[in-house]
Each structure stands twice: as structure tokens, then as C-alpha cells.
């Protein structure tokens, strides 16, 4: 029995190695804000959101599989939340009744495993009931398969067989083992056997056989012998205790997987509810193969900014289909960084199978997302700022592969403009040559202008908009780089408000 709500034919792996630059992504895209909104204070939901979002899917088809399931969840939120309660109930039962397999001898393992199984049977019956009642209301491939499996595997007959075993495993009559002579004539290959003619009286029948039987009765004070006999019995039930305990663990892990895989969708439900409350739109993105170059959207906003401000924020419309280099220039504090972050966030959310914060959104998947942001604080003593930026870039180059998406935000500006531009130019050109999509925010005219002069077909230039009166709209529009960066505006604004 497999949950398969995160992948079509694979369990979600909560320990999957996250990309090596996960810390940079989290910091540069302010992912914690997003995960907080999905978790609503639940640590487990936070962890799952973090893990899923950072371990991106690479296939558009795999993305669609989750999107369909998420749509079902949005439609049947109450039922999904009810299913999510089943594994949670299991965890609570275990805590309340001290259930668990902690014993260090097979007899103890066996009896605690039986108790666990009895508790699981109750919860599985409940899951079966939900499936029987609501399966028809779900349309996604993932949920349909899930419910069909529950109905097929957990029949009433099956529950009966399980309950019979749970009774027999208490071994009221005695234990029958077979053994062989192993190395050094020591008993080996102990196998627990079921008498050929079963029933309550199997022991009597066993002794009535014709072949010779040798019996030995321990002296009542032979404690050592009694212990040895107990050990022998333990050897016999070692395997069955293992089988029962592992079965309990398997069901436990089935329920844990169910919890894990639903947790992602519960997080999405939480997020959707908050965005709807603010009146922010959500859209299911169209993902295309990484070999294509697509990036077009309307109303794309920075979800983390909206969540922080707790209100609707400015969205952007851009069509960068077919482009591999996007250079964003313009006014300081004009929304360049916010725009770049909204691109990164949307990409991660899309490749996690989530909806994205936009009215519409379409992009190619990328084989890896990398961010290189100017860092305000430089804590390292030994390297200068440019040195630090370059060493971070070098780590990226170690990991980046063709088909990746690179977001550069005011990178390599820690030196004079001519040198900084030249370094950035070389890096950007090399990345483009290796089929890596580059979005570059810069106030360095030399750099932006240099690329603009090349009149590349696959480049697009965007500018943080500024009205004629100097007011910033925080909108990003298509436009060639301009020589000034409007620092003067900012200067005036800051100084004039202070006066």
C-alpha cells in the first residue's frame, strides 16, 4: 500500500538532499516568510514545506500531477483535513497509551507489536470508511488511485484474517520449532512451525505420532535451565516477532507517509486561505520543458512582501518568452529586488507543484535555481568584500548546470564600476553560453549598456518605472538602461522627510 500523493510512483523522501545552495535561496528569497504562512506555527508543516519547496520537480508532467491533487484539495478542503487527522490520531494514541516496541526480548517485542496492530486496525477501518463515503468527489489521478487502493486492500475479509492472527500469536498451547545442526553442531535455523493439524489440541496430536519422542522435564529449582529454555523459545519466535513488529512499523510508516504527503497540501490550503483573505490572486502555472525558454506572466507579485505587509501588493506583467538574458535596471528602491524575488519564488513554487502568486504564469522548468545577492554585512575577516562575492560565485559555478536559472542581484559591485562590470560581463556571458538563463539586476550602467549595445535577440531589458514627476510606481516595465540610477531622488526623499 503506497500513498503516492506527492509523486505518481514514488514515496516522498523527506531526507532528500536539498540543493547545496539552500541557505542562500532561503535568505535571498525570504523563504521563511512563505513557510511560516504555510505552517501557521506547526513545526512539522514548516519542515515539510521547506523540504518540498526546495527539492524541485524537474518534469512538467510531475508538476501537473501535484497541481491536480492540489486542486482537489482546494475543492474538498474539509475532507482532506479529516484524512490528515487519522495519522495524527495514531501519533496521539501512541503517546497516550505508551505504545511502542522497546523491548529487548522477542516475547516483549511480540506483545507490544500486537497491541500496536490492534490500535492501527481501528484507524484503518476509519480511513476505509472515508474512502467509501467520499471517493466519488475527487477527480485527480492521485486521489482516485489512493481511494481505490484503500477500498481494494482493506476489505472486511482482510480485517478478519488479521484479527485471527493477533489471537493465535499469543501461543496458549506451547511453541513448536524446527531446527538443524549448524556450525559446531549448534542448533541453527530455528523456524517457528504451525502443526500440520491445527486447532487448540495440536500439542496432544503432536505427541500421538509414531516416531520416537524424547522428552525432558526441568527440575523445579533449575532456574538456569528455565532461562535457557526461555532463550530457546525466544529464538523460535524471534522471526515471527520481527515479522509482526515490522508489520506494525510498516503500517506506522504508511500512516506517517500519509501525514507527510498530506502535510504539503495542508500547507498549501493554509496559504491559499490567507491570500484569498487579502484578495490576492493565485494561479496554477503552465510549466514547460527546460529546453524551452519561456517566462511570461501577468500580475506576478512578491508573495513574501504581501504576507509581510498583510495586504495586496503591486504585480507585474512581463513577456520574456524566448529570452535567456533579462536585465533589470532603474531607480533604487524602485522594486527591482522585489521583482527579482517574485520571479525566484514563483519558480520554486511552480516546481513544487504549487499555485503561484499571479493572475497567470508560464515558465520553463529549470534544472537548478541559483541566487547571488549582494550581501550587506561581510562578517568574514580574511577576505575583502569582492573576494567574498567571488568565492560565493565560484561555489555556484561548482554546482550549476546547463538549464539552470541564475538570479544576480547587484553582484560584483563591490569594486569600481569598470572592473565590476567586466567581471559581471564575463560571468554572465559564460553562463549564457552554457545555456543558463540569467536574470540580472544592476545599477551599473556600463554593464547593462554593454549588453544592450550587442543587440542580442535573446535579451530583454526591463526598468523599474519612474513617472515624470519622479514618483516610483514599483512597477517593472520594458525599457533600455538609463545612465542615472536616481540615487539623487532617494537622497532628497530621505533628507527632506527628516527636515
Amino acid at each position: 500500500m503506497k500513498v503516492f500523493l506527492m509523486h505518481r510512483d514514488l514515496d516522498f523522501d523527506p531526507k532528500q538532499r536539498l540543493p547545496p545552495n539552500q541557505a542562500d535561496l532561503t535568505q535571498d528569497l525570504e523563504l521563511t516568510t512563505l513557510f511560516d504562512a504555510m505552517a501557521l506555527g506547526d513545526k512539522f508543516l514548516f519542515e515539510v514545506a521547506n523540504q518540498v519547496t526546495l527539492s524541485s520537480l524537474g518534469e512538467p508532467d510531475a508538476i501537473r500531477y501535484r497541481q491536480e491533487i492540489l486542486k482537489d484539495c482546494l475543492k474538498n478542503a474539509a475532507i482532506v483535513r479529516e484524512i490528515y487527522q487519522i495519522p495524527i490520531q495514531s501519533t496521539q494514541n501512541k503517546q497516550k497509551h505508551w505504545l511502542g516496541i522497546f523491548s529487548r526480548h522477542p516475547g516483549g517485542i511480540l506483545s507490544s507489536a500486537i497491541e500496536m496492530l490492534e490500535m492501527f486496525v481501528g484507524l484503518l477501518r476509519k480511513l476505509k470508511q472515508i474512502a467509501d463515503e467520499h471517493a466519488g468527489e475527487f477527480e485527480s489521478e492521485g486521489f482516485k488511485r489512493f481511494f481505490e487502493m484503500i477500498q481494494q486492500e482493506l476489505s472486511e475479509d482482510y480485517f478478519t484474517v488479521v484479527e485471527n492472527h493477533l489471537k493465535e500469536l499469543r501461543f496458549r498451547g506451547g511453541v513448536l520449532l524446527s531446527a538443524e545442526l549448524g556450525t559446531g553442531n549448534e542448533g541453527a535455523n530455528y523456524v517457528l512451525r504451525k502443526a500440520n493439524h491445527g486447532g487448540q489440541n495440536w500439542v496432544r496430536r503432536f505427541f500421538a505420532r509414531k516416531s520416537p519422542v524424547y522428552s525432558f522435564t526441568l527440575h523445579p529449582r533449575d532456574d538456569h535451565g528455565a532461562r535457557a529454555l526461555g532463550e530457546l523459545k525466544d529464538r523460535g519466535i524471534n522471526l515471527v516477532a520481527n515479522a509482526v513488529a515490522q508489520s506494525a512499523d510498516h503500517i506506522d510508516s504508511f500512516l506517517n507517509t500519509l501525514r507527510l504527503e498530506l502535510a504539503f497540501y495542508i500547507g498549501c490550503l493554509n496559504l491559499a486561505e490567507q491570500l484569498t483573505q487579502m484578495g490576492e490572486p493565485i494561479a496554477f502555472p503552465t510549466a514547460v520543458d527546460f529546453s524551452e525558454r519561456r517566462h511570461s506572466f501577468t500580475g506576478l507579485y512578491d508573495i513574501c512582501l504581501a504576507l509581510t505587509m498583510k495586504k495586496k501588493v503591486v504585480g507585474n506583467d512581463v513577456n520574456a518568452d524566448g529570452r535567456e538574458l533579462v536585465i533589470i535596471t532603474g531607480a533604487n528602491q524602485g522594486g527591482k529586488s522585489t521583482f527579482l524575488r517574485s520571479i525566484g519564488l514563483a519558480q520554486l513554487m511552480m516546481q513544487a507543484g504549487m499555485f503561484v502568486p499571479a493572475e497567470s504564469f508560464s515558465a520553463n522548468v529549470c534544472t537548478g535555481l541559483f541566487t547571488h545577492y549582494k550581501r550587506e554585512e561581510d562578517t568574514s575577516m580574511k577576505s575583502g568584500k569582492l573576494d567574498e562575492e567571488l568565492s560565493r560565485m565560484s561555489v555556484i559555478v561548482d554546482n550549476i548546470i546547463p538549464g539552470s536559472l541564475m538570479l544576480l542581484n547587484e553582484s560584483f559591485a563591490a569594486t569600481n564600476e569598470r572592473e565590476g562590470s567586466e567581471i559581471a560581463r564575463q560571468i554572465t556571458s559564460a553562463l549564457l553560453d552554457r545555456h543558463i538563463k540569467v536574470l540580472l539586476v544592476t545599477h551599473q550602467y556600463e554593464l547593462a549598456h554593454g549588453f544592450h549595445d550587442k543587440k542580442m535577440d535573446n535579451a530583454i531589458f526591463l526598468r523599474a518605472e519612474r513617472k515624470a514627476d519622479g514618483v516610483r510606481t514599483f512597477k517593472v516595465v520594458e525599457g533600455k538602461p538609463l545612465q542615472t540610477s536616481y540615487g539623487k531622488d532617494l537622497y532628497h526623499k530621505v533628507f527632506e522627510t527628516e527636515d
Binding site: M1, K2, I101, P106, A113, V175, L176, L177, S178, A179, E180, L181, T183, G184, N185, E186, V191, L192, R193, K194, V203, F206, R209, S211, V213, Y214, S215, F216, P220, G225, A228, L229, L232, K233, N238, L239, N242, A243, V244, A245, Q246, S247, H250, I251, F254, T257, L390, S394, V397, D398, I400, I401, P402, Q426, I427, S429, A430, L431, D433, R434
Partner: protein
Amino acid sequence: MTFHSILFDKDDIQGESVEQPPFFTDLNLDQVIDAITAKRQEYNLKPFFYSPLRDAETIFYRHEVMRDMEAEMLMAHIKAFVEKMVLVRRYLALVEKLDFNYHKKGWFLEAVLVYCDAVTDLARDLSLAEIKSRGFLAFREYVLTYVHTHGFESLAAEARKVKTGLSSVKYSVVIQIGKFSVQRYEGETDYSAEVERTFEKFKQGAVKDYRLDLYKGSGMNHIEAQILEFVARLYPEQFAALDHFYAGHSLFVDETIQVFDREIQFYVAYLEHIAEFKRMGLVFCYPQVSATNHDVYDHDGFDLALAHTLLNSEKPVICNDFYLKDPERIIVVTGPNQGGKTTFARAFGQLHYLASLGCPVPGSEAQLFLFDRIFTHFEIEEDIRNLRGKLQDDLVRIHDIIAHATPDSILILNEIFASTTLKDAVFLSKEIMARVMELDLLCVWVTFIDELATLSEKTVSMVSTVLPENPALRTFKIIRKHADGLAYALSIAEKHRLTYAQIKERIQP
């Protein structure tokens, strides 16, 4: 060709020295040999490593064997053999300790089975292996003859027959409170499997293994012994055969095989040790050796002890070259501190010592001298005694060295006279140097006194180096002084390998 020993080509086998040579600690050879022998204490291998050779012929004999052993196949076969011999010894020791009749005889049978297996496999593997060394060729002949002796053949056949009988025994035990019964097994079904099948559908990933390791050490308790006795009554024939076998065989391990089992560990241990460094990209070679020619060289050599401590660190092992060509005898090493001078001097000593054991040495190509003795004098930095007392000790020790050294000795001096006044140090060093040159022996001398390097045609100057653009960075490279300066200006981006060309190189399309 008669087989004497896998370590010696001649009959007059050199005795094993049990004492660690005095220069071992200065050269960190104690660490090297400890690391090599650590996992093989039971063979007492250190005496092999304490006994250097001067006979180039015997060294070549070992090189041949070592080269054969470098073939993964042969190494694997030998390892399989020695592992089985370990078991044989363990089982026989067990037999001595056991109490119950059929238990004891059972383990004796196991020991014989493993021994026959070990020797038969070895004979088969050696006959198929591509071996060239005189040592292995002779040993192969010996083993092939041995396995076809009547004694060995009948031992093996009888042991197998007895074991087959015992393996066919299968019985049932019913355990109730305070009693048990034993009977022949009659086809009852496996209940664990049935339970497992029922819950099969829930199988997720790997879960904890609850099978307890119920092995309770060697020995049988009286319940198990009682069961075994019942089983023996249920299957009398099989156990009578065991009685007969035990009575008929006692000392069954061949002595030559036993000696080989220990001696071959010398090669296994050394090759296994250096394999770790080879994986790191370091190289080893079979040096040319001579007890007469004082020309020596080694390319890409390194300190084996230091390499071992760096094994699990990020730090690279720095390799160095040296050569001495007649009339050159003395390498004078100068240069900044912490630049790898001492390491270089140690490596020089280690290389010569390892070569004298017949081992491959660190480096890509080497020619080394077969010394009569190695003398070392290393400054002990944290010495609390007063300087005059120390200087006197130093001089006494050096006098002692000079008195015993011959033109065939190797001398390694490290920062002697470092704690006396410069004037004294220069004077004393020049005096000692004159005597060393007169002795005409091979010498590495680490010193801060530059003048020593140019005293005569016998001395060669080598210097520890730094990066020209950042003198604070040590390269740990020791080079002949006349080497050209490595001044190349790196732009900062180049340093991070982030130019256009470098990035394109680094990201594969």
C-alpha cells in the same frame, strides 16, 4: 626450485630484529609501521619491519613478490586464504575450551573443513594466477604438491562426508513451560512466513530490524546439550561418523603453510596501507637500489607519516623531488619556518629505510642507496634544561654519530645548534660540516645558516618556498635554489577561476 620463504630468496634467512631502530621516532617511522601493522597484531609483523636489508638481490626478490601482489586478483585470493586461516586458529582455540562432547567435535570438524577449503582454494587460485615472482612460483609448486598428497586428500574427503551427514539432520522441539520434547521434523509449515504474507501489503521502505542477535557466545548450556544428545539418539549414524573422524585426526596444519600465512602479511599490510594514498592520487614506485652507487633521486616523494595524518583532512599532501649526483652528497635545506623543511628531511630518511625493506616507496621514480646505518639528530624544541648543558649534549651526540658513521651511512640533521648564539652555531656547524664532507656520506641538513649550502661541490642548496604574490602562504615545496621564481600575477577573478574561459571550462555543456 625449492621454496624457502616468501620473504627471502636464500636459505640463510636473516634473523628478525625485535627492537625498534633508534632513528624511528625522529623519522616518524614508528607511526608509519604502527599504522601498517595495527590491524594485524596477531601476526607480530613488526620484526619484519625492524630488519632492513643490504642485499639488493633479496630486495629485488621482494619487489617481484610485491608486484605480483599488486594484481587485484591475486591480492583478493591471498586475503581470502589468510582470512580462512584466522578462522582455523579461532576454531581450534574454541575446541580447547568447550565442555560437551559433540559440541567440541563439531567445532573440530569445522576447523578442518575451513583449513581444507583454504588450502584447496589457494592451490586452485595460484594455479590460475598470472605470477612471475620466483617467490610465488616456488610456493605454488609447493602447494600444488601438498594438496595432492594422500594425507591431505583423505582429510578433506572424510571431513566433507561427515559434515554432509550432520547437515541433513532436521528436528522439531516443542517448548512448554518447564519441559521440552525432541522429535524428527515432519514437514510442519512455517508460521512466521504466513504472518509476514498477511501484512505484506503494508510494506513501505526499510524499517527497523527487530530480529535480535541472540548469539550468546561460544559454549552450550545444558538444555542445548540435552537437545543435542536427543538429536544424536534420533540420528545415530551421523554421529558415529563424527566420533570416528575426531579419533583419526589431530595436528593437521602444514608447517610451511603456517609460516607463509604469517610472512605474506608483510606484503598485504604494506600494500593495503599505501592503497589509501594511491586513492588520493599519490604515487609509489619500486626504487632502483644499490649498496655502492651514491647517486640518489626521487620524484614526487612525500612523508608517509604526514600523509597518514592528512588522510581525512582537506589538506593536500605536498610532493617534492630531490637528486644527488656525484660528487654531491649533502642537501642543505634552508628557508622560511613551517615551510616543510623537516618533513622533507624525514621523507628522505623514510624513503631510504622503506627501500631497504624491499617495499615500493613514495614517488614516481626513484634510485636509492642501501645504507649500513641511519643516524638522525633532531632538535627537541621544548627542552627545559639550560642551554649550556643542552649544547654539550648535542655535541656529545654528534661526536658519537661521527665516530660510528661510515661513508655508507645516512645522516639527517635537523636544526642542530638552533638554541645557541649565531656565532657559535656558525662556527660549530662549519666544523661538523667539514667532518661530514670528509666522511663522504649521504646527508640532509636542515639549518638556518645559509653559508653551509655553498661550502663545497658536495653540498646542494634546497629552499622551502612561498607564493611570490603572497609571501605569507607556504607552498611546502622544497626546491633547488636555482629554480626560477614562480612570479605570476593572478587577477582576483582568475584566482577564483571565474573568468569567461575558466567558467566555460568548469561548467560542462
